[in-house]
């Protein structure tokens, strides 16, 4: 282990690892480390090598040889080397002392910063290709089922006008409705449907006979809407009788 000038050490010579001035290029050769004194200093400082595995005596000898053999010693360089050696010796001394607790482990290296959607980039492209290919194939469309706003079946001879007449007749019997109390509970169509179903029997009955007086125009409309919904759901049958329509609970 002797001081020698290595062209590769030029960078370390110009850029000090210890301070402003770089130490002389003392080369360290050991089974666990190979490099300059400056590099060893940096590695020990950054905990990249275990100082316990590196004998310091040959390095100190090399330093004394450097002092003895060099004709023109730079005091700054020599001081920098001494500082580095002192640091290494102190660190090793502390490392050799018994410790009550093991040294804390250092945190794991930081994981890749998120987001990492780029990992899916090629998968997305492949899916896009599959999707594009798929658009060239056409399948029998799925049946969406009956439109809930359409009657599920025809009422045969029953015309909308028949139903309209039944409603008009009922409305003509309605008394003026009471002024609505603000904030009062609102009746739901489901509740009205239950009420209508309770009033219906398996015998045919006209709308006029179903709704008991007195009733308001609003109540008449609710009755009519509930009957329409029950017809749509197939729970009420309807037929034309003379000039009126009649309803009954489905048998």
């Amino acid at each position: 282990m002797a001081p020698r000038r290595d062209p590769n050490e030029k960078a370390l010579a110009t850029l000090s690892s210890v301070g402003v001035i770089a130490p002389p290029p003392i080369q360290v050769e050991s089974p666990k480390f190979s490099g300059s004194l400056a590099a060893l200093f940096v590695c020990v400082r950054d905990r990249k090598v275990d100082l316990l595995d590196i004998p310091l005596f040959p390095i100190c000898s090399a330093y004394f040889l450097y002092l003895a053999e060099s004709e023109q010693i730079s005091l700054d360089e020599a001081a920098a080397a001494l500082t580095a050696l002192a640091y290494l010796l102190e660190r090793k001394a502390w490392a050799l002392l018994p410790v009550a607790e093991p040294e804390p482990e250092f945190d794991d290296p930081m994981e890749l910063m998120e987001p990492y959607v780029h990992e899916f980039a090629l998968a997305i492209e492949q899916l896009r290709t599959l999707h594009e290919e798929r658009t060239h194939q056409f399948f029998r469309p799925q049946d969406a089922g009956p439109d809930p706003y359409e009657l599920p079946y025809t009422l045969e001879e029953i015309e909308p006008a028949d139903l309209a007449r039944a409603l008009a007749r009922l409305l003509s019997r309605a008394t003026p409705e009471k002024p609505e109390v603000l904030g009062g509970p609102r009746r739901s169509l489901t509740e009205q449907m239950k009420l209508v179903l309770a009033a219906l029997t398996t015998d045919w009955a006209s709308l006029d006979s179903l709704v008991k007086e007195p009733f308001t125009r609003q109540e008449a409309v609710w009755w009519f809407l509930a009957l329409l919904e029950l017809i749509r759901l197939g729970q009420v049958n309807v037929q034309v009788s003379e000039e009126d329509v009649q309803f009954r609970r489905k048998v």
Binding site: P115, Y116, A121, A123, L127, E133, Q137, F139, Q142, D143
Partner: protein
């Protein structure tokens, strides 16, 4: 041509008839049950049907979303595309991103998706739910019990996949990406 008195006598024709009226993929076991034959017999008959359709006509047999279905051949795509309306909507880049993340990491919460993307993704999740490409599959046992999402049969159907294990493997994709980066030359950190 007179119809065969026993429709199950000719399994291939029977399969073709069932698949013709089916509006979604029919599983092998369902076909076997309907025809009263073994699944092996159905598989053989499907192969014959596929070859027959491949040789002639405009219809082909497709295996996707866990079953079999008939579709038009790709060469008629333009004709049928102009005949049908409205045109199909393509998936935007952001929808594809979210869909891919859900597909590969499912079951996954919206938070997980946003963690990967680094941007808010509630719109995309909602849009994919509306298109029935993803669905709620449960709730994560975590504070707030967030909804877990997974892909649907419709997703498999739309991407011509038989099952989820047919997704392009993400590892090889990553490796492929690494190769591309390697071949692009030295980077800033080289």
């Amino acid at each position: 041509m007179a119809a065969n008195s026993d429709p199950k006598a000719n399994i291939v024709d029977s399969l073709e008839a069932i698949l013709f009226v089916a509006d979604s993929p029919v599983a092998l076991e369902v076909l076997a049950r309907e025809l009263g034959v073994t699944q092996g017999q159905v598989s053989q008959a499907l192969e014959i049907l596929a070859e027959r359709l491949h040789a002639n006509g405009s219809i082909q047999l497709v295996e996707l979303a866990g079953g079999f279905q008939l579709s038009t051949k790709p060469e008629f795509a333009e004709l049928i595309g102009s005949f049908l309306s409205p045109q199909r909507q393509k998936l935007s880049r952001s929808l594809m991103e979210v869909l891919a993340i859900v597909a590969y990491k499912q079951p996954v919460t919206m938070g997980d998706v946003e963690k990967v993307r680094g941007v808010q993704s509630d719109y995309s999740i909602r849009a994919l739910l509306e298109r029935r490409l993803i669905r709620e599959v449960g709730r994560k046992i975590a504070p707030g019990r967030p909804v877990l999402y997974g892909t649907t049969q419709q997703f498999l159907h739309q991407f011509n996949l038989k099952a989820l294990d047919q997704l392009p493997p993400l590892d090889s994709v990553t490796e492929e990406a690494a190769n591309i980066i390697r071949h692009e030359g030295p980077s800033l950190f080289d």
